[in-house]
């Protein structure tokens, strides 16, 4: 069964595996073309079904995009901290208790939530296809 850790893998992507590292003074001739195989691999990680024809189209478009990204090499960020968010807030807390979700106090019913699914619902559970093949 496929592992569901999407981005935690060490497989090299053919000619991109040895790739390029910012800040080491090593320059490849471009952030590399995003090959059709790379596109297919990334689509697989993202669980996106794409056709072979789409993979080719995206390969060309994404290569352009990533060639453009090289511009960031110009910026010296050796002493710069990352920005994750711009609110300046930290550790925002709430009282641990049950309160109505809506401002009016009107409940959001369980059936409303389950009703949003187009799949069959049984005993408060949404029925999906089998994850593991029965042997």
């Amino acid at each position: 069964m496929n592992c569901v850790h999407r981005r935690d893998y060490t497989v090299g992507w053919g000619d991109h595996a040895t790739g390029f590292r910012f800040g080491l003074g090593v320059k490849s001739d471009s952030m590399a073309k995003i090959s059709k195989e790379t596109v297919q691999h990334v689509a697989k990680l993202a669980r996106l079904g794409i056709s072979a024809k789409e993979a080719e189209k995206f390969s060309s478009q994404l290569s352009d995009v990533f060639d453009y990204m090289d511009i960031l090499e110009e910026v010296d960020t050796s002493k710069v901290k990352e920005t994750s968010q711009v609110t300046g807030l930290e550790n925002v807390k709430e009282e641990d208790g049950i309160v109505p979700w809506t401002a009016s106090g009107d409940p959001v019913e369980k059936d409303d939530l389950l009703g949003a699914s187009e799949l069959p619902v049984e005993s408060n559970q949404i029925l999906v296809k089998a994850a593991v093949k029965k042997s």
């Binding site: 993202a46 996106l48 794409i50 478009q61 453009y68 710069v80 990352e82 994750s84 009703g115 296809k129």
Partner: protein
């Protein structure tokens, strides 16, 4: 009285209280205009005429008292990204086509409590990913000023609806420019707020550290009124700080005398069309004549903003799009699938348009092992430098002014096959988004062919009042 749909919030509110016309009258004029124009413009993708007229009649029965919001009884259009209980909310995506949310977004709750009359949901780029509203499963929104041109995006439907007098005001979202740019291209006012000023609860997430909720209106005063109703802390959105909501209308009528207005040279440089620069500079000269001091400023990180955004934003988009698997909500796939994992591929393959797929893949790639440092973390560091750029500028000036878009509305289809060219449309709006700053887009003229040109007034965080004060005088 005819064509009540052409009035502003303030004019209508006065009219209601003077008993010149009713809420139902206004709503009917709006729907008349919608019937005349929506087939061409395609601003609205879903109309709620019956419930709107019911609500208008209900409000007319209640009457208007001094304590009522100025928004009471006034018709509004909501971008199809806002959860509206019992009314479809699709984000204009094939994968969410018939989704009916079981609860309202916080801003929708607040507008309901204020007495809004919701006319319907407006068109957008799928999941807010675009700058032209061409990436919608309901077709493109055409620019009301010239139907061969785009309305801009991603909030193109809301911008066009207000610009074309189909509704009195509208809500949208701005992540990298999606309110300011369509406002500018359609010739209407659009306000991007400080990140965290308005709750995003119940608003479909695109890029969670960039997304903001804002509005379109026909006057700066109207935007001040709307902001007062929707701003403020919400326990359901932990990124809304406990920052007081001032009376934004009190910022108006103060003029610009004594204010220092910075002009970032990078916003008037290479890549910006000459006519756009000229029109904006004319408006700036007017402000100078009214007593503002114009200061030349540099924001050297401007040229890196697109790269920062198109690494960082897709990363966040790819995470936010993970939930669309057709299980708890969204369309069941029509294709065959063998097993659960295969089902994800089929559902997501069918449910997302091309631009979404591109962004999800860009995001997945830049977050992957071996690439995360080079791309994602690098972009986060350059984002810090963009923020520092603005901080340094605001030590010298009160607000910054520049064009919103490097060019006026472009032709429909013109940039569709060149994603990178489309991304360049956001060059001047992304930097303020990176820093979470408020920015008000104001129409300030037209080009030789009559296409609208807009400028933006950028202020420090939580200084929307300054944006409004200066914008009023443009």
């Amino acid at each position: 009285m005819a064509n009540l749909n052409e009035l502003t919030i303030k004019e209508i509110a006065d009219g209601f209280r003077a008993k010149k016309f009713s809420s139902e009258d206004v709503a009917r004029d709006c729907f008349k205009r919608i019937r005349e124009r929506n087939d061409d413009v395609n601003a609205f993708v879903h109309l709620t005429e019956e419930s709107a007229l019911d609500r208008a009649r209900e409000i007319d029965k209640e009457g208007f008292s001094a304590k009522d919001s100025l928004l009471k009884g006034i018709p509004v259009g909501l971008k199809d990204i806002f959860n509206t209980r019992g009314v479809t909310t699709t984000c204009c995506s094939p994968g969410l086509k018939d989704y009916v949310p079981p609860y309202d977004a916080t801003v929708v709750e607040r507008l309901r409590a204020a007495g809004m009359v919701m006319l319907g949901k407006t068109n957008m780029d799928e999941f807010a990913c675009g700058a032209s509203t061409e990436h919608s499963c309901f077709g493109v929104t055409k620019n009301p000023v010239d139907l061969s041109k785009v309305a801009g995006g991603s909030s193109g439907g809301s911008a066009a609806a207000v610009a074309d007098d189909m509704c009195i005001y509208a809500l949208g979202t701005d992540t990298g420019g999606s309110i300011r740019q369509p406002a500018s291209l359609c010739g209407t006012y659009g306000l991007k707020v400080t990140y965290g000023r308005v709750s995003r609860s119940g608003v479909t997430a695109m890029a969670s550290s960039w997304d903001t909720v804002g509005s379109f209106g026909k006057s700066v005063e109207d935007l001040a009124v709307i902001l007062g109703e929707i701003a403020g802390r919400d326990r359901r959105d932990m990124t809304t700080p406990d920052e007081k909501v001032p009376d934004y209308t009190a910022s108006l009528g103060k003029g610009v005398k004594g204010l220092k207005i910075g002009l970032p040279k990078e916003y008037f440089g290479e890549g910006i069309e000459k006519e756009t620069k000229d029109v904006v500079m004319e408006a700036v000269k007017k402000l100078e004549a009214q007593g503002a001091e114009i200061v030349k400023i540099s924001l050297p990180m401007t040229k890196y903003a697109i790269a920062v955004y198109y690494i960082s934003m897709p990363a966040e988009v790819s995470a936010n799009m993970e939930r669309y698997d057709g299980i708890r909500f969204g369309k069941k796939a029509s294709g065959e699938a063998e097993g659960l994992v295969d089902q994800y591929f089929v559902t997501r393959g069918e449910g997302f348009g091309d631009e979404m797929k591109r962004r999800i893949m860009i995001g997945t790639y830049v977050l992957s092992a071996g690439y995360m440092d080079a791309y994602y973390k690098k972009a986060m560091k350059v984002r810090t430098k963009i923020i520092e750029d603005f901080a340094a500028a605001f030590k010298k000036v009160d607000v910054l002014i520049g064009p919103v878009s490097p060019y006026p509305a472009f032709g429909i289809g013109e940039k569709l096959n060149d994603p990178l060219a489309m991304y360049m449309a956001d060059a001047l709006t992304i930097p303020a988004s990176a820093a979470g700053l408020p920015s008000l887009a104001c129409p300030c003229g037209v080009d030789g062919s009559g296409l609208p040109i807009g400028l933006q007034v950028i202020a420090p965080q939580f200084q929307e009042g300054l944006c409004l004060r200066v914008g009023e005088m443009v």
